[in-house]
Symmetry: C2
Subunit: 636 residues, 2 copies
């Protein structure tokens, strides 16, 4: 039994019990008609052919576009869509509103997405990778697309596409950005697999993108070089891209991780990333395709003894000088923070410093560093902070999916909310993340009692902050076990080549990234931001150790010392998990027993893990600082 | 080209240029005849049939046994062997002596092995293990016995058997003590593979032993339980063992890792290890076989917060109460130290405290914790200390082999010396390890110049102490990267379930294992030993942190503080590696260029790694202690 996530059939009751008219032609209008027909068959409504009797009218009123108007005309609720995609988006808006879509109080509203491209990236491998498995950083079972080297049945892919469409997503990248040999062939002799997936996503208005290997001309054995200045290489990409579009005419484009963590790239040939990205953009241009070029480029062979190199600086150092040199159909895809999806990071200065480049912000829905879907961690409050800061600078959002072939889609059933919300925030970054959570609850638990709603809010609203409390303190980041990144290991990355340090000693902790005495990272920000982070007086507490190395006795704006803050938050965070576990028991009988059991099991693990985090972090810093807890709580 | 190790054809020149008589019948006499014939064919000697003209006479003079007499009778050198094995051992003694075996100065000597069973354990898997690979903790390429699920050609196995015989080894365990499903079947439907290997080892007087899975009756699907008190289980082992002996009549016996690191064992059924071992011993008894039962039993799911549990205590706690309850053909196989093959450990108290049990001491030739055959680390000085202490208490030695299908057998060519020496020490534990090194040099580099000999001594004599200098200090142990165990990670195991801690804080470091204030481990030793370790006044410096938690300012017997000792030894150790590298360049032209290149490449890595160890350990303890180096050397 696959869980219906936020589209249980009950969610269509309000529509399915009415007389509905759908006007328009084409595959997306057909999809809408099909959805309506299914709903009416279930709930007793009727598909009608004239406006007079219709209670819901969905029509394509414009030449194209994803937006729509919603309003009342007489006794009917009307969706007037800008184009076929708008029709589908309008349908799901009505689904979300349920009965509220049909009251006379409904006023005219116009809905258009804030971000043009709202993409989910899938780190799925075709072949099972010996270390990373079927899905890199996947915590929800296997891939929805491939199993052990072979494509899977498309039935569930269509269900997945439908869920994504209902959340506002309009693009997917289907394969891992680390493109291994087999996956490189998706571009050539495995194109039928791409075409199959594209057909499943297409009926829900979602365009498929392909992660490609920059060295594909070499790896596939066709050429001796992948140099973007080489005419044969450019011709290879053009002809290869032409063949790709014969199989998938509406391919969205390519996604590239180049010169990053061992992946090949233009640096091999002494070329810039603009050279590399522009070559692919040129090949895609005739088809309206784009290149998503990841800005995740840094030295992962750093010497920990070299304190002048700062990984946080890397993306800006590499890319800011290239501003204005990318072709129009290149989208620079930038992780939201300067490091790598930590629980707390400042905004990446790249997102604030490349005005002449198309940018997409990259978020991580899969919980690599945020509890791996074993912990409750509702991330939209974090994403909301990011998106409010950068929405004006970016034209797209790319989010690494947390879905897999797990019956609950996301391992932890409550992690479905992250998948749902990321699309909703991409559509409208100003939405209140807690209001989105309510929307998700309404859809996922139709007719949820006030009691259940309260339990879910108690578990989820502040779960990100709770997770932050018991893990790495004050923006320090990366205190996880190397490799799998689950659970605490304070020094796990401290003496490694990955550039992720905290520099804790017996006197203090934190990374000095100031201009005055540190790595100068703060200077990568616009002046107001830079001043705020540079000064201890204005740097926000939650980012203190990201920007400054301070003594354990340093007093935070909150009034407590750094060391006491560490103890306090770690005791508090683990304690809040205890409260969450107890609270969840009150939901027994209010939700599907299988779902309840799954969440219970995950909360047990979250408790064990939170206690382990609390004790390791507290013991580590007590051993270093020698400062006892002011409240005498047990530190081992 | 496979390197000939310590049996290059040149090693047989003295024999092969003489008139040789071999008297005796049977397969081992045939082997000796074959060796002689080959040597004579190469060097112009003759196999003769009468004593009058013989210059070398090898004869079987007794009914059986591994010993032999060596002496002169007239103009002939004579080996009078106690039995067929003695004949082979005598041959290799003559090989080792070369021309010196034929001088008139040779006096009568009797040679008998000190330890009856001198065994090499192979941690080879049939199937490639997803984490551990073909050979668990193997650093010399693949297995000599299996490749990717299939048995290999026996040619090289015979060469290996010959090398082992020439070093004094008379037993091997062919498969990993972690017996996975495929390997469990070696006991039943894969018996022909065991028989094949046994045939290759047999002609060199080496008996094959099989690692078995205690749960084999269940895993192979024959029975619902493996309870040693169950009559059906006992009958299963008897009939299975009977079938094994039909295929391999001279099987040495079984080797078992039970109730250890996830392996099944008698604890599952509420039985003791004596119950488990005796059941197998009973099945083997009719065939003269023995059970090697490993004492490596501890809680590997320990809570690091629980300071009362001490892994060092585990083997003695488990096994000492069972003294006298094992059958005569059970051999308890005990790691030399109480932990797990660290560079420096005290002797295991089990080896000193089970007078009514047959014991074998287990050593690790493969360099899991001693540089993994990337570092020069000649281990016999450590083994010699161990064996001098326990030789009177043990009847056997089991050593985990460091050989694989690498062209140099052992990855690092100089690691061949460890493989050679472990057999020689098992034969005679009182031998000077540096004299054994000379013996190995003579055989491996025939006609080695004084210059080459000096270089090799400079590199190898103190290489174990050098390795100790730049790794974990003063007996602390386990400051390695979890999982692969290569390179430094001071806190890598500090907050884990493995029971391997150092408890370093800002004030001091070490594990208090005293009776007075610690875990009481010292009380497991006989009184003189216990007193020595219990008292700070008498505890040897090199084991200080194994037995005591002391402040960084504690003054060692050597006169320096603990913290200064850490700095001094780490700078000195890494510096000695630099000297070794330079010294090795002087051997260019004195040895085979391929061997020279391989050692050079390994020394480069050893230097990098030693510098990394030096810097991580020094930085870690500087950050904790805040005490600067008295000599102002760079600490990062």
């Amino acid at each position: 039994m696959i869980h219906p996530a936020w589209l249980p059939s009950e969610a269509f009751r309000a529509i399915g019990s009415r007389r509905v008219l759908v006007q328009g032609t084409g595959p997306l209008a057909d999809t809408v008609r099909h959805e309506i027909a299914e709903a009416c068959a279930r709930f007793g409504g009727t598909v009608v052919q004239d406006r007079k009797t219709a209670e819901l009218i969905l029509s394509i009123a414009g030449p194209g576009g994803e937006g729509f108007r919603l309003g009342r005309r007489g006794d009917a609720t009307v969706i007037s869509a800008d184009g076929p995609s708008g029709l589908l988006n309008g349908l799901f808006e009505v689904v979300r509103r349920g009965e509220r879509a049909f009251g006379p109080a409904l006023t005219d509203e116009r809905h258009v997405p804030a971000l043009a491209r709202r993409m989910l990236d899938h780190w799925d491998n075709v072949d099972v990778h010996p270390v990373m498995g079927q899905v890199e950083r996947g915590y929800s079972g296997g891939s929805l697309f491939w199993h052990d080297g072979r494509p899977r049945d498309l039935g569930r892919v269509r269900d997945y596409a439908r869920l994504l469409a209902a959340s506002g997503v309009n693009a997917v990248a289907i394969n891992n950005v680390n493109v291994h040999t087999t996956e490189t062939r998706l571009l050539t002799d495995r194109l039928t697999e791409v075409a199959g997936l594209a057909s499943a996503f297409r009926v829900y208005g979602i365009r498929v993108h392909l992660s490609v290997n920059f060295a594909a001309p070499v790896i596939l054995g066709d050429l001796p070089t992948a140099d973007p200045a080489d005419e044969a290489v450019r011709a290879w990409w053009k002809s290869t891209t032409a063949r790709v579009h014969e199989a998938v005419p509406d391919l969205g484009g390519y996604l590239v991780k180049a010169d990053s963590e061992g992946q090949p790239g233009p640096f091999t040939y002494g070329r810039s990333h603009a050279d590399g990205a522009n070559m692919l953009a040129e090949a895609l241009e005739p088809y309206g395709g784009v290149v998503h070029w990841r800005a995740f480029v840094y030295n992962h062979r750093q010497d920990w003894r070299d304190r002048s190199t700062d990984r946080a600086r890397a993306a800006h150092d590499h890319f800011a000088p290239l501003d204005g040199t990318f072709r129009d159909n290149v989208i620079l895809q930038v992780k939201h923070g300067p490091m790598d999806f930590q629980t707390r990071e400042p905004i990446s200065p790249v997102l604030l410093g490349m005005p002449s480049t198309r940018l997409a912000v990259e978020l991580q829905v899969t919980g690599e560093y945020t509890g791996q879907q074993r912990h409750v961690c509702y991330l939209p409050p974090m994403w909301s902070e990011v998106l409010r800061a950068v929405a004006g600078n970016v034209s797209g959002l790319a989010a690494v999916s947390n879905a897999g072939d797990d019956p609950f889609w996301t391992g932890h059933p409550l992690a479905q909310a992250n998948l749902y919300a990321v699309g909703r925030l991409a559509w409208n970054p100003t939405r209140d993340p807690i209001a989105i959570l309510d929307e998700w609850i309404d859809l996922t638990f139709p007719g949820a009692s006030a009691e259940l709603r309260d339990v879910l809010h108690d578990l989820m609203d502040e779960s990100w902050q709770t997770y932050e409390q018991y893990t790495a303190p004050l923006g320090a980041g990366f205190m996880v076990r190397p490799g799998h990144h689950y659970g605490p290991d304070v020094d796990g990355y401290e003496y490694t080549p990955w550039g992720t340090y905290h520099f804790a000693d017996r006197d203090g902790v934190g990374v000095d990234r100031t201009v005055a005495t540190g790595t100068g990272f703060t200077a990568q920000y616009p002046p107001l931001w830079a001043d705020r982070y540079e000064s201890l007086a204005t740097c926000p507490d939650e980012l203190l150790l990201f920007f400054h190395h301070v003594p354990y006795g340093h007093v935070l704006h909150s009034g407590v010392t750094v060391i006491q803050h560490i103890y306090d938050t770690h005791f508090a965070g683990a304690h809040r998990v205890t409260a969450m576990r107890e609270r969840w028991q009150e939901a027994a009988g209010l939700v599907d027993p299988a779902l309840h059991a799954r969440v219970t099991e995950r909360l047990d693990e979250q408790q064990r893990s939170a206690d382990e985090w609390r004790d390791q972090i507290n013991t580590y810093f007590y051993r270093k600082s020698g400062v006892p807890d002011a409240h005498g709580r047990p530190i081992h």
